[in-house]
């Protein structure tokens, strides 16, 4: 490993000229991608982390778990945008987004070193919460710095194209995190992966290597030329927060950026990349491998479009590309997700295709306790009833649950058995690729709303308060509006249980509102001069 890094640094990095735009983009993008990777692995390993650090039945641990999941995204991210945005406008872009990278990488690595609840008790969830909050804070400061840094190096006619590379990082970070976790998980047993010092910690430890390389690259970079010029002339902002949010002229642009662009972008981004994968796993009931590889393929095919839309936005303007992405999302979300549900209904396909019973292989009935969990004093035992294999290679399992209730004396005496549901579905090849195509479409919408937005935000605000002014709406849009997609989805599903797609009305509604505001209030003009 040491040899590899020595080779990499000596043969590639040292040849990069600090001032070339390629090295500016590489230094910014790699670091930002690593920050996203760090932020995602916590969410993706939430189940294992919960078992290790936040055990069931402990009220304090449950509270800390809630704070770790919700506070990091909703409160700390926008707060990080303010803290580091201010710092970036006061001391410069380079050192600020270097600091966010170190904070993010360091806290990720340390999460991987915290002993479990069994070893150190309540100190474990407290430490993990603290480190998770630092992660949220760092993420809030990273994006604005990277986007501003690249944009301030880019010529006016290529600003969208160059900053679009930064826009690929959130998706690539997800891709790397997903790939890394699958790589580790598929190479060891379930028990080895989930053990206290098991494989789930490897993605956290690997982060420190990635961050070390990225910090090295960023240290070689020089400060943004526009910020350096301002500093030389003594024109940097004295109080960026005050100038951003208490000067009406600038504050009204912050509001317009949030409600006319970033709010809709946030929900389209979250729905395409996270809600879709969760929907495939928990509603369409696809198996672990397919629900993730579908997303991986779709991301791989769609990622170049971030750069394409960024490039196109330099030719035709940013506004209408973003608006078109939102409009497509609004009108096609329900048909696409409905197709997921209908096509994944493999048992119905047996009836529809009138398959002769002898062609469907049914393994001898296995009565097996698959998982056991407790919810509000009720013990829920999940059973795999039987496994079915169809002639086209698709397969699924029939499952049911036994819920054991306590009576008033605390004696378990009532058992309710659920109807059979079909889980662990494995699609045939043709359907698998159809699903990849549909998820590709969802991520294509993400690329349309997300590709041009860095250039769009940079061009809205003056250099001296740019970092602060663009960071806050961006993280409210993505962290709060985007991050609420699963929660509001659950709220709607609970309120209207008859419609399995009802959760989509939240992203559709927010995107529609944003589309209307964007069409009416935003303009399509590209700001030629961002030096002022």
């Amino acid at each position: 490993m040491k040899l590899f890094f020595t080779f990499f640094i000596n043969t590639y990095l040292t040849r990069m000229k600090p001032t070339t735009i390629r090295s500016v983009i590489a230094a910014s993008s790699v670091g930002t991608m690593i920050e996203w990777y760090d932020f995602y692995i916590f969410g993706m390993l939430a189940k294992t982390i919960s078992t290790q650090f936040f055990p069931e039945g402990n009220a304090t641990a449950a509270l800390l778990s809630t704070l770790a999941i919700f506070a990091a995204g909703f409160i700390v991210r926008p707060f990080g945008a303010l803290v580091f945005g201010r710092l970036g406008d006061l001391i410069g872009r380079k050192y600020t987004f270097l600091l966010t990278l170190v904070l993010m990488g360091g806290s990720t690595f340390l999460i991987g070193l915290v002993p479990g609840y069994k070893s150190i008790g309540i100190a474990a969830p407290l430490l993990v919460l603290l480190l998770r909050l630092i992660q949220g804070l760092a993420l809030g400061g990273e994006y604005g710095g990277a986007a501003t840094y690249v944009a301030e190096h880019a010529p006016a006619n290529k600003r969208g194209f160059y900053t679009s590379w930064i826009q690929t990082t959130a998706t690539l970070g997800l891709f790397v995190a997903l790939g890394m976790i699958m790589l580790v998980k598929l190479n060891m047993s379930e028990s080895s992966f989930n053990a206290e010092w098991g494989g789930w910690r490897y993605p956290f430890w690997i982060s420190i290597l990635l961050v070390a390389v990225s910090v090295y690259i960023r240290l070689k970079m020089s400060e943004s030329p526009l910020f350096s010029k301002l500093k030389e002339e003594g024109k940097t902002s004295v109080n960026p927060l005050k100038e951003s949010f208490s000067h009406k002229a600038n504050f009204k642009m912050v509001l317009m950026a949030l409600f006319g662009a970033v709010m809709g972008q946030g929900v389209v981004w979250y729905t395409g990349q996270f809600y879709a994968q969760n929907f495939l796993e928990t509603k369409a009931m696809l198996d672990f491998e397919q629900s993730r590889t579908i997303l991986l393929w779709a991301i791989a095919f769609a990622t170049p479009f971030f750069v394409f839309w960024g490039w196109l936005s330099d030719k035709i303007g940013r506004k209408w590309i973003m608006m078109a992405g939102m409009a497509l999302a609004i009108f096609t979300y329900r048909p696409i997700f409905n197709t997921f549900l209908a096509d994944a209904d493999l048992p119905a396909a047996i009836i529809k295709k009138q398959l002769p019973p002898e062609t469907v292989k049914i393994e001898p009935v296995i009565i097996k306790a698959d998982t056991v969990k407790r919810e509000a004093g009720v013990i829920i035992i999940n059973h795999i009833h039987s496994k079915h294999t169809l002639p086209d290679g698709s397969r699924f399992s029939a499952s049911y649950t036994d819920s054991i209730f306590n009576n008033s004396n605390g004696v378990k005496n009532e058992v309710k058995t659920s109807p059979i549901t079909y889980v662990n579905k494995h699609l045939p090849s043709s359907l698998y690729w159809k699903f990849i195509g549909l998820v590709f479409l969802l991520i294509l919408y993400v690329t349309m709303v997300y590709g041009p937005i860095a250039a769009f935000l940079v061009e809205m605000f003056p250099t001296k308060i740019r970092y602060t002014s663009m960071s806050l709406p961006y993280h409210i849009g993505n962290g709060v509006f985007g991050g609420l997609v699963p929660f509001i989805g659950l709220l709607l599903t609970t309120s209207f249980p008859s419609d399995p797609l009802v959760g989509l009305w939240y992203p559709i509604g927010v995107a529609a509102l944003c589309l209307l505001i964007g069409i009416v209030y935003l303009r399509n003009k590209i700001d030629e001069n961002v030096e002022d």
Partner: protein, 82 residues
Amino acid sequence: MNNIKRALGIIWLLLAPAVIYFLVDRAIVHIDPAGTKDINNPVIWIIIIGIFTPIAIGLMIFGWYAFKGEYDHLPESSEELS
């Protein structure tokens, strides 16, 4: 177009308190100490209402600015922003 911008401003002004009312109403309905779902958890509702209230106030201010014609002309240079 400027008339549409101003007229819509009234809708944004009214939408903001409606969102807060909806969230508080849903919180009262769903908070349940015995429940196990996220929507039963009071801490989550406190966080969400706490973070959404200033955003909704921001939407009201946006609506007010729009209604007053502040968005009739958008700045052409940074000098107009400071």
